[in-house]
């Protein structure tokens, strides 16, 4: 029962992290390596707003999400737009942005800035307390993760299927040139995708981070998790990302329960290798099943 409940929590954590990454990749074919950095940045921003500026929690979260979305748009407009179509350069550039943010957060000494190092950076949980579900002790924050994660996936589905902007994003993801012919601008779509993706990274951060403390290193871990989920699910496939986060989430929890926590990372990397050997395009990746008909 432990495994079932904590596996679900872990899976939804992974899904939350990966869904923004896969949205950006699906729409604009940009692997946004700054995803993890934005995640951490939102954590620290929220902490600063609450503790340095004494803003109320909800407002602090909203503000840092807006900043994160703007940053996503800026990263595209100023950096990535110059490199569109050069896949390696896109990775290098977005990883550079990620390094600037993460190492910048840790930097000390400039203008009395102490750097975000140490165990003091803790976001308070939304609701304190724990409860028992079928005999398993679980805190409210983890329940919020389950609820919030499901709500976000549902909202994203509604957004991409029933709004004009969402439909245009899916059009670009499926066939960019055909979308261009209908008056959909690919740069605009990429900016929207990056802002939403960055805001989703931030949203994942505010929901997940109260479980532990905020560290800059988490940025790299989050990035690896997101990439692992996306590769296993099939790059750019949204349903695949959700499926893969459940597969991975449970695999990680089960291996930890059976063999110990060290095996978590082994399972993660092993799963990537396995999927690349058996099904290189991922669980739900495009297999060219729908060949065009002439």
């Amino acid at each position: 029962m432990d495994i079932l409940i904590y596996g679900t929590v872990n899976s939804i954590v992974l899904a939350l992290i990966a869904v923004g990454f896969t949205l950006v990749y699906g729409v604009s074919r940009i692997p946004n390596f700054a995803h993890g950095a934005l995640y951490v940045l939102v954590g620290f921003l929220t902490w600063s707003f609450i503790n340095d500026l004494k803003i109320n929690y909800l407002l602090a979260v909203t503000l840092s999400l807006i900043i994160s979305a703007l940053l996503g748009a800026i990263i595209y407009r100023w950096v990535l737009i110059r490199l569109r179509g050069m896949a390696t350069s896109e990775i290098i550039a977005s990883f550079a942005v990620s390094l600037i943010i993460l190492e910048g957060l840790r930097m000390q000494g400039i203008g009395g800035f102490k750097g975000f190092i140490g165990p003091y950076y803790i976001l308070p949980p939304f609701i304190e307390g724990k409860m028992r579900i079928v005999g398993v002790l679980i805190d409210f924050q983890r329940l919020i993760i389950i609820g919030g994660g499901l709500a976000i996936v549902l909202l994203l589905w509604i957004f991409t299927h029933h709004t004009k902007v969402g439909l245009s994003l899916r059009a670009i993801a499926q066939d960019e040139r055909a979308a261009l012919m209908l008056g959909i601008d690919s740069d605009r779509a990429a900016v929207i995708a990056l802002s939403i993706g960055s805001a989703l990274a931030g949203l994942a951060a505010v929901i997940i981070l109260p479980l532990g403390n905020v560290t800059a290193e988490a940025g790299y871990k989050v990035l690896i998790d997101a990439i692992a989920v996306c590769i296993i699910g099939g790059l750019g496939s949204w349903a695949g990302a959700v499926l893969a986060s459940f597969v991975l989430g449970f695999a990680m929890i089960i291996s930890t329960a059976l063999f110990g926590a060290v095996w978590e990372k082994v399972v993660l990397v092993g799963a990537i290798i396995l999927i690349l050997i058996l099904r290189p395009s991922g669980l739900l990746g495009k297999q060219k099943e729908l060949e065009e008909r002439v």
Binding site: G85, L167, R170, A171, A178, M181, L182, D185, L290
Partner: protein, 248 residues
């Protein structure tokens, strides 16, 4: 409405469009005929602006150098350097060769995506219109685009283009690979669209027979150049056209 002047397009040093002059008058169906590699699709891509996007992508990956020279006048303004999305906003909508239906979206969703530039009332009205001219689409609206037959996909592609509220509709080889029965239905429908909502249409095709009855004016393209032009009747009486495109 549309005036193409001295248009030249090069892929590296190979010439794809050679000094083409072409006019599409408002409310009229203009045809452009030619064999494979005559430059039909390049012409369509250049008029709709997709060529600029292809050019940019080729530059980014260090591929072919594409050069576009000449001018394209549309509604009194030169649009040769305008972005494809801007041109679409001005009413130039391309319905591409091989249809390029969004394979994972349902037919209805394809149409909705087509309505990106339309207002809510326009989209609703056009959707109804599309379902009246292509009743079979109404029954298939829930099916994924990739699972439609070739003819259904072509109807969907035309419907999707109509949803974008075109003033100048570019149809690139709309009859490619379809059965004679569907060819006839589509040709008739294109004429209907032109008559009922007064859209100017430029249509390219390899095989002239099914299209000839519906065009008002036509061009014959060969190796990138426009070698012949005239009204449908004039072209039909030309002995070269007769032998090359009608097999008479």
């Amino acid at each position: 409405m549309l005036e193409v002047k001295n248009l030249m397009v090069f892929y590296e040093n190979a010439i794809a469009i050679n000094n083409v002059n072409m006019t599409c008058k408002k409310g009229v169906i203009t045809g452009a005929f030619g064999a494979n590699s005559a430059g039909k699709s390049t012409l369509m891509y250049t008029i709709s602006g997709i060529m600029l996007d292809i050019k940019k992508k080729e530059e980014m990956r260090g591929g072919e150098r594409i050069t576009v020279l000449g001018s394209i006048n549309y509604d009194g303004a030169d649009i040769i350097n305008m972005k494809p999305s801007e041109r679409a906003k001005k009413g130039i909508i391309l319905c591409p060769e091989r249809r390029r239906i969004f394979p994972e979206s349902s037919a209805l969703e394809n149409l909705k995506i087509g309505g990106y530039l339309a207002t809510k009332t326009q989209a609703k009205k056009t959707l109804e219109y599309v379902f009246t001219i292509f009743p079979s689409l109404k029954e298939l609206q829930g099916r994924e685009g990739g699972f439609l037959s070739g003819g259904e996909q072509q109807m969907l592609a035309i419907g999707r283009a109509l949803m974008a509220q075109p003033k100048l509709l570019l149809l690139d080889e709309p009859l490619l690979g379809l059965s004679p029965r569907i060819e006839a239905i589509l040709a008739r429908t294109v004429k209907e669209i032109n008559r009922e909502i007064g859209i100017t249409i430029l249509i390219t095709e390899q095989y002239a027979r099914p299209i000839f009855p519906i065009i008002d004016y036509g061009y014959v393209l060969e190796n990138g150049g426009a070698v012949l032009e005239g009204t449908a009747k004039e072209l039909m009486e030309n002995p070269d056209v007769k032998s090359a495109y009608f097999g008479l």
